[in-house]
């Protein structure tokens, strides 16, 4: 294979390295939810590293109810035509046929997302079987490692999408990070029992114990609405952020989008965040998670 002097080098497409590699390239950036080509253009002009195509932003899914499915393929195609940055799209949890369709039209990343109505209450998609990379949500380290075991090339906190409330994203990020820190201090013989209790693949648990971090990039999503929210998540250990309803449900989406992009780069410079947060207009309206009923939470799905 690939012997020296071969005229054509051996080319392998869609390897694990190229999948995780794309996630690496998105680090330090902001991925924005958009519902049409016009919004996608605004996101790109503001400096988004990628856009996430969906039919309705989470805040509207929450308000309008009903079954939330993969976005219209026509709209996704239009978005792919107007922007040069990667285009992601959501598939329902377990709905591998939606994922196959998204892969066939050439989206760059599939989000197997709890924001859409789950299609399978027991199983997630076998993501290794795809050429397109996947991102999945998690609430804790066990979730994260199960999804990586299934082939996710990127992990994000679930947070509580469409709530404008950062509290769940914080809970999930803190949980993942503190469990990783615990693992680092464990003796080797403790790892099997810990893996069993987490419900996570043993070899991934061993890897995290050694490196102290997830084997794929670890992003944050769900409830980010302000530059300071982005800064908070980055300081807590997120390597990039997703902003859903927070941009296009705010008073001045273009300005807010740009401010959140800059805040994600200069997340540890409060004076920059302060400057960026002036005169942004109204943020999206928020929801108190403690007033929500269990059935209305997206983060408990999957």
């Amino acid at each position: 294979m690939g012997k020296k002097g071969d005229k054509m080098s051996e080319v392998e497409k869609s390897t694990w390295k190229t999948k995780v590699g794309l996630a690496e390239m998105l680090k330090g950036g902001v991925i924005m939810d958009v519902t049409n080509a016009e919004q996608a253009k605004i996101a790109e002009d503001a400096g988004a590293v990628a856009v996430m195509a969906l039919e309705r932003v989470p805040a509207d899914i929450r308000k309008e109810g009903g079954v939330a499915r993969m976005a219209s393929l026509r709209v996704i195609k239009e978005i792919m035509e107007v922007v040069s940055i990667p285009v992601m799209a959501k598939a329902r949890i377990g709905h591998f046929a939606e994922a196959q369709v998204l892969e066939s039209i050439g989206v760059d990343f599939v989000d197997e997302s709890e924001v859409l109505t789950p299609a399978d209450e027991f199983y997630h998609i076998d993501k290794h079987a795809f050429k397109v990379p996947f991102v999945c949500g998690c609430r804790d380290l066990g979730d994260a490692l199960r999804r990586i075991g299934e082939g996710a090339a990127m992990i994000r906190t679930k947070g509580e999408a469409g709530s404008g409330n950062i509290v769940e994203a914080v809970r999930h990020m803190r949980s993942v990070v503190s469990e990783m820190n615990r693992l680092k201090t464990m003796r080797h013989e403790e790892l099997m029992t810990y893996a069993k209790n987490l419900g996570a693949p043993y070899d991934l648990v061993v890897e995290v114990a050694k490196t102290g971090k997830l084997p794929v990039p670890n992003f944050s999503a769900g409830g980010i609405a302000t530059p300071a929210d982005a800064s908070l998540m980055m300081q807590l250990g997120a390597e990039a952020v997703f902003v859903g309803s927070g941009i296009f449900k705010s008073q001045d989406p273009a300005k807010r989008a740009k401010a959140i992009v800059d805040a994600t780069t200069y997340y540890n410079k409060p004076e920059v965040i302060a400057e960026l947060s002036m005169d942004l207009g109204e943020a999206m309206p928020g929801l108190d998670i403690r007033q929500m009923e269990e059935k209305d939470k997206f983060s408990t799905r999957g």
């Binding site: 590699g21 390239m25 800059d262």
Partner: protein
């Protein structure tokens, strides 16, 4: 002479795959640091502009006055390696795009030139400057140089396309040397930095 300070390489950390570069440089025994401001770019001996999204990084460069500083340092002769997004930003021309670029390497770059993410690939490259064996390169939504000026050397091609180019102190790399275990491209860049630093301390 002997107490000449250590070389410091900056990795531009506006957005993108910063950490893998820093890790690889440290592995090679070099001081590496993330840089985000014009002042920090004054403190380094060589710069890597990593992979990321070129439209995002370009905008942040312009908003924070970083583009101007990089151009000044490049003209002083400081070596700069741009990988993927970095290669795009170093170019004089970006095909069918008005996005910000530094305009330093005399070439025209085609973005996403091998297709979308599902077409991202690994391939062996033969690069004379780093020798045998072949270099296993990772291409992610990668660009290539469609045209290069007379002062630009093409160091590697994939299927005839220019994917590693050099113009004096500037290196443009369409693939991701930071995502492999092979340190030879970074070592080649470090040699440019060492030569430049030596030149400077001689006068």
């Amino acid at each position: 002479m002997i107490k000449k300070t250590n070389i410091i390489i900056g990795v531009l950390a506006l957005q993108g795959a910063v950490e893998p570069h820093i890790k690889m440089l440290k592995q090679l025994g070099v001081d590496a640091t993330a840089v985000r401001s014009p002042e920090e770019i004054d403190q380094i001996d060589g710069l890597i502009i990593p992979g990321g999204e070129s439209t995002t990084v370009g905008k942040l460069m312009a908003r924070y006055g970083i583009d101007k500083k990089i151009i000044i340092r490049a003209k002083e002769g400081m070596p700069i390696m741009g990988t993927c997004t970095g290669m795009i930003l170093l170019a004089k021309e970006i095909v069918e795009s008005a996005q910000l670029r530094l305009g330093l390497i005399d070439c025209a770059i085609l973005r996403n030139a091998f297709g979308r993410q599902v077409d991202s690939f690994e391939a062996d490259l033969s690069i004379d400057q780093i020798g045998e064996p072949a270099y296993r390169a990772v291409f992610i939504r990668a660009p290539y140089a469609l045209k290069t000026g007379d002062n630009v050397n093409v160091l590697a091609r994939h299927n005839g396309r220019a994917v590693l180019i050099r113009q004096g102190n500037l290196l443009g790399c369409a693939f991701h040397p930071e995502l492999t275990d092979d340190t030879r491209v970074h070592e080649y860049f470090l040699q440019l930095v060492k030569d430049w630093v030596k030149e400077g301390s001689a006068c």
